[in-house]
């Protein structure tokens, strides 16, 4: 019965979404008009940290969510999981997983979804396991809190997954987290995330705390297993290099708004939004001669306009229209940009 319901819902959402359907399949995750707010006191001033965000990911797709620190990437990721800090809450919008709105679910239903349908890989691999309980026991615990399986069975499954992430399974199974290296731990948490073959994996800066080579290996592994499982991955990162290299599509955030999104290839080759342009320019590229100075984005990071376009205060192209929130406008076939200046350009060229 419920399967039929989800199916009809899925069809409905696909119809709604027809015009910006990137692929033929219906999205796994769809975020509509999501705003996340901080309430200082009861009835106090509302402080919007994420503003009217729209995003969707389809099965097998890896979507990169890029942006500088404080742009709301991780908050969005936490909101999907329903694990926002207590002082924050979703003030409007919908988060749909296979057409089911997560915000309407009870804490208990959400608990069933977490881990099983949506997996989360943390930035801080040191803390992805409780430090004084053996890895194996924690994997078994997670397995048994979703499925009614016996302990030996759960152990078998946990060992299998540790092997799949290319770890010496038996040894890791009976180790404490502090006995493993960073790369091993991140792999083990990858195993913990993939065990249930979730439909969506949120990887919140999975490589930030690792060295470059280990990070690459972990991402290779993630990409490989993603192909096998055909799940969707939301890769949250401030490292443009990973996002450009790994993802199928990407979204660039600034100050809690998505300023530009679309196919990664299209965005890389033809960025429209001034922030994306500057971001791509600021990225170091391996050359024969050392650059005198990296291109930097003007203004103070974290300087966010309260009204209208959040980037307006730092934007070289800002003009009076920027006090209004720009709408997402298609720019090219697989790209959408929210910028008044780009709109004006288009109007100018049309005229």
């Amino acid at each position: 019965m419920s399967a039929v319901m989800t199916l009809t819902k899925e069809i409905a959402t696909e119809k709604e979404n027809e015009k910006d359907a990137l692929f033929r399949t219906s999205p796994v995750l769809e975020i509509k008009n999501l705003s996340i707010s901080l309430y200082e006191d009861k009835g106090g001033e509302e402080h919007r940290l994420v503003k009217k965000l729209n995003l969707s990911i389809r099965p097998g797709e890896m979507l990169g969510l890029a942006g500088e620190s404080g742009s709301g990437k991780s908050l969005t990721a936490s909101a999907i999981l329903g694990l926002l800090p207590k002082s924050l809450s979703v003030s409007e919008g919908q988060i749909l997983i296979r057409g089911q709105d997560l915000l309407n679910l009870s804490e208990k239903e959400m608990g069933h979804l977490r881990g099983k349908e949506i997996a989360y890989i943390f930035q801080n691999y040191q803390d992805s396991f409780t430090p004084f309980i053996k890895i194996g026991r924690q994997l078994v615990e997670a397995l048994r809190s979703h499925d009614k399986i016996s302990k030996p069975e759960a152990k078998k499954q946990a060992l299998l997954w540790l092997e799949r992430v290319k770890l010496p399974a038996e040894q890791i199974f009976s180790s404490y987290p502090h006995q493993l290296s960073g790369g091993q731990l991140q792999r083990a948490s990858l195993a913990a995330a993939l065990m249930f073959e979730p439909v969506l994996i949120i990887a919140d800066e999975p490589t930030t705390a690792l060295d470059v080579l280990t990070g690459e290996k972990v991402l290779d592994l993630l990409a490989g297993l993603q192909k096998e499982l055909n799940c969707a991955v939301l890769l949250v990162s401030h490292d443009l290099k990973h996002v450009l290299k790994r993802t199928d599509s990407m979204a660039v955030m600034y100050g809690g708004q998505i300023v530009e999104k679309g196919a990664t290839k299209s965005l890389r080759e033809n960025p429209r939004h001034p922030y994306t342009k500057l971001l791509l320019k600021a990225r170091p590229i391996l050359r024969y001669t050392a650059l005198e100075k990296f291109a930097a984005i003007p203004g103070e990071p974290g300087l966010i306009a309260k009204e209208g376009c959040t980037f307006a205060l730092r934007c070289p192209l800002s003009f009076e229209q920027c006090y209004m929130v720009p709408a997402m406008q298609p720019a090219g076939r697989f790209q959408w940009t929210a910028c008044q200046a780009v709109d004006r350009e288009k109007v100018d060229t049309n005229a």
Partner: protein
């Protein structure tokens, strides 16, 4: 650890010798009987009091090494036997107090940590303030007044039955419970905000499992530390409570011994308590390793 015990033995022995009052006069009951100087001298030499202090200490220490704490001046029985007779009674009281302590502090601490700022937390806060500021002798008296005298639910003293256990246990356990509840709350709130708890939630592990198996264990470390340190006050508190509820335990034995200048008994009591506290603190230190295996890591890997 051996040093601590050695220092303790010297200290108690010295203090006994410096204390005013003369056991010889007390033994001969000089207040009520006529005591001749010859009698006094005879007793003095038989007790070894005519020897220099270091010889006396040496003799006592040799005895202690052989697990002989000497004989009581008053009852004439070996001190060991006295202690062995009374130790179970004090242990019974302490166990009761610990039960009360855990019974109050764990639920209260967990509830306050689960709902910080809400009513269980407020109750916990008020409770902790009351618990920390009430002296146990007063609490004991109030409990006797209310439950034994006014309502006549529990007996006011004596020991043996469960109903006689209740009031003394509460008296001794209550003040500690309040402190531990707060300590547990602070530890739990801290660990519940840790990333690994979030990671557990993200894996879909149930909240009660995270609370009891993951967070509780981490929160236990500061609690255990303070517990080791407060063992002394637990035993000290036992003295007051035993007197109050007329329990023939170690505490009341010590008080009787002090009043009658029964030096071997006092020394035996202090030494035993000292050793007990030292050993229990060692056990507490060892328990850290059981709680958190990282703590032993430095030792093993440096070798």
């Amino acid at each position: 650890m051996v040093l601590v015990v050695l220092f303790l033995s010297i200290f108690t022995f010295g203090l006994m010798k410096m204390a005013p009052g003369d056991p010889v006069l007390a033994i001969l009951n000089s207040d009520e009987m006529i005591v001749t100087d010859a009698d006094q001298a005879k007793l003095r030499s038989s007790l070894g009091f005519d020897q220099p202090i270091y010889v006396q200490y040496g003799q006592w220490m040799i005895g202690v090494m052989q697990l002989d704490l000497g004989t009581s001046y008053m009852s004439g029985k070996p001190v060991w036997n006295e202690i062995a007779e009374r130790l179970p009674i004090t242990l019974q009281l302490t166990a009761g107090a610990l039960l009360v302590m855990v019974g109050i502090s764990v639920p209260l601490g967990v509830l306050s940590a689960r709902y910080p700022g809400k009513w269980p937390d407020q109750i916990g806060r008020i409770f902790a303030l009351i618990g920390a500021s009430i002296p146990s002798f007063w609490l004991g008296l109030m409990l006797i007044y209310i439950f034994a005298f006014k309502f006549q639910i529990f007996p006011s003293g004596g020991m043996g039955s469960v109903s006689q256990m209740i009031l003394p246990s509460i008296t001794l356990g209550f003040t500690l419970a309040a402190v531990y509840a707060r300590l547990l709350r602070a530890g739990l709130i801290e660990t519940l905000s840790k990333d690994y708890i979030r990671a557990g939630r993200a894996r879909g592990v149930k909240e009660w499992r995270l609370l009891w198996l993951h967070a509780f264990r981490a929160a236990l470390i500061p609690v255990m530390t303070v517990f080791g340190l407060s063992l002394g006050s637990l035993l000290g508190g036992a003295v007051v409570v035993e007197i109050l509820f007329s329990w023939p335990g170690l505490g009341s034995m010590a008080v009787d011994a002090i009043l009658s200048r029964d030096y071997p008994v006092i020394q035996g009591y202090v030494l035993l308590t000292g050793v007990l506290v030292v050993v229990l603190n060692l056990l507490v230190d060892l328990s850290y390793y059981l709680i958190d295996p990282r703590i032993n890591q430095g030792k093993r890997e440096s070798g």
